[in-house]
Symmetry: C2
DNA sequence: GGAAGTCGTGTGAACGGTCACATCGCGGGG
DNA sequence: CCCCGCGATGTGACCGTTCACACGACTTCC
């Protein structure tokens, strides 16, 4: 009569064993208020005994709520995005949401569209975008996802959907620090032109230099890697017409320091260097790197808070940018008068 | 008559508009062979026109196939795991699977169990474990997940489920390199004792030292961070009774080099240092770090290949460990005879 | 020329939950 | 005393898809 089915127990199996109706079991699962404590306990016992697990697919089907938050991220093992993503995962899970993450390898329109398509096919309820390229943003606005979304970077154009560390302010802190140390010939090695953060940091550099009435020069467009910083350094240091460099991130700063060393220059004696991000290793570069710290965890947490607020009908969440912090270490020093 | 429903179009809507039955639409979606090309095209046109998306929940419900692979990972922004995870995501998506990732913050039994519970409640079809602590492994074996799984690290006990770079061999390469350079007093700074990789690398160190009949000493147990490498270095360098250090990863090596510099020692002049992992920055440390490279992408790809093989009934996949590669840079040199 | 097999398509049932509503016993107020 | 309200529980329908099976037309073969 009972052929030991391989099928997992369902709500009706539980109901039968507990001697109640399936609806009562459902009520227990969704802890409905009007249920007798002893009935609830009986049901819970059976659930425990048979190892019953509610079927998420069935639940999602009938409620048309997937309880999934989509994450669109660009393929990279960078410290910042990864840290934020971890925070997002934790916050989402705590709130009873699961995550569907998809990475896009290239930042073009088609790739973004494919990623978004994939996420929408999971019927996500909200979306977090950690893909910091301008083109991805354009694609997102154009495709007009039908769900609440936030981006972890800010173009400044869409304050209602962005949530970010104030990159421009961070860059200004860095450059101001160099100016305060007496530097006037300051170079900027930027990230790729189509990265939002690269653009914002470059703006910060230009603004601060202009306010101090210092000569700016065309920023060097890099690719965030230590390799680039190294080769750019080798090239740029042939003409030593600058005393300080503001690098778009810590990795490029590391590469630049490597180049300095190879060219027989000391940091900060000959060249002062500032990075951006404060990756955990930055404190142990030789010399320890002066840099700008961003709170990636806070960004991730807030992203989920904002989305949950919107899903819960409270759209007026805190969108104020987080201010970054200048961490002064040993890669910068007062300019020496020759 | 058509009150512009907010409801997303379903398969019957498409069928009605295309003038076919819903089953025909289903067949088109699952590209069944026996369907007339013009019928298929008609259906595809309607799908495109109304922006129809199959409901994954409904599909999962009826097929009882979630097409989801679970990933249990420990909360960290380390380069290796992140890189592997990216590869896993890509490989899984290409194979038509989605990922459900959950991170565990602490490596204890309860936390692992909770993470696994969470994943099982998503009715995952397979599992990848990137949580490299021994206790997590114990928990997994004990809980006996009911699905195919692989771990991205190897304890050596469960060759059928593991898939890894041969850490022991990597460590031996590193140590042999130091021995070949004439070093005999070689220190090992290990990762945390409960990490599988730390243990394996330590074994490699001990084996190679023993074979060369060199004196080993108790490895220093670190926490993978550059900070630890730094403070350990400051402490250890007070007694300069060694000429070389094999660090469990690149970050600790970086911290150790920092300490050397601070103590007035040069690398590799006074101390030779080898790291592990070959993170992208390692080539630009000062000096560039000699280290052991692991192919994290390959590991991730193979994990999915193995799981898909098992799901498809071909369980005899390639489990041979991947051999790591020694990258010799400038942080090691022949020992100087005083 | 009719039976058998193929191709293309349609119909009913099922997956495992939740929702809306019905039902039943019981206590209290008019 | 009866009816109303309420707390606790049960019943039917439905979410959107796939599966098993049925069915009609057309080809093929003896």
């Amino acid at each position: 009569m009972e052929p030991e089915k391989v099928r997992a127990p369902n709500i009706r199996d539980v109901a039968r064993l507990a001697g109640v109706s399936y609806q009562t079991v459902s009520r227990v699962l969704n802890d409905s208020p009007s249920i007798r404590p002893e009935t609830r306990q009986k049901v819970l016992d059976v659930i425990e005994a048979v190892g019953y697990r509610p079927n998420q697919a069935a639940r999602a089907l009938v409620t048309s709520r997937s309880r999934t938050i989509g994450v669109l991220t660009s393929q990279s093992a960078h410290y910042g995005p990864t840290t934020s993503l971890n925070a997002i995962e934790t916050a989402a899970r705590d709130a009873g949401y699961r995550l569907s993450v998809t990475t896009i390898s290239t930042a073009d329109y088609a790739s973004t569209r494919a990623g978004l398509d994939y996420l929408m096919s999971q019927s996500i309820e909200a979306l977090v975008v950690i893909a910091p390229q301008v083109r991805v943003f354009d694609a997102i606005h154009e495709l007009s996802v039908g769900v609440p979304f936030v981006t972890l970077e800010s173009t400044g154009r869409d304050p209602g959907h962005s949530l970010s560390v104030d990159q421009t302010e961070g860059a200004r802190l860095a450059v101001r620090h160099l100016i305060d140390l007496g530097h006037s010939e300051i170079l900027h090695i930027s990230g790729p032109q189509d990265w939002i953060e690269a653009e914002a940091r470059m703006q910060g550099y230009l603004q601060e230099m202009n306010e101090a009435e210092l000569r700016t020069r065309a920023p060097v467009l890099g690719d965030w890697t230590a390799h680039f910083g190294y080769y750019a350094g080798l090239e740029l240091l042939r003409f030593r017409d600058f005393t300080a460099v503001f690098c778009g991130n810590d990795q490029m700063a590391l590469g630049f320091m490597h180049a300095c060393r190879e060219m027989g220059l000391t940091v900060p004696g000959d060249i002062s260097i500032v990075g951006f991000d404060d990756i955990p290793e930055a404190a142990h570069f030789l010399p320890p790197l002066t840099t700008v710290r961003q709170n990636f965890v806070e960004i991730g947490r807030r992203a989920i808070a904002v989305l949950l607020g919107e899903l819960g009908g409270q759209p007026d969440q805190n969108h104020t940018p987080i201010t970054p912090e200048l961490i002064v270490r040993a890669s910068t020093s007062r300019v020496v008068v020759r």
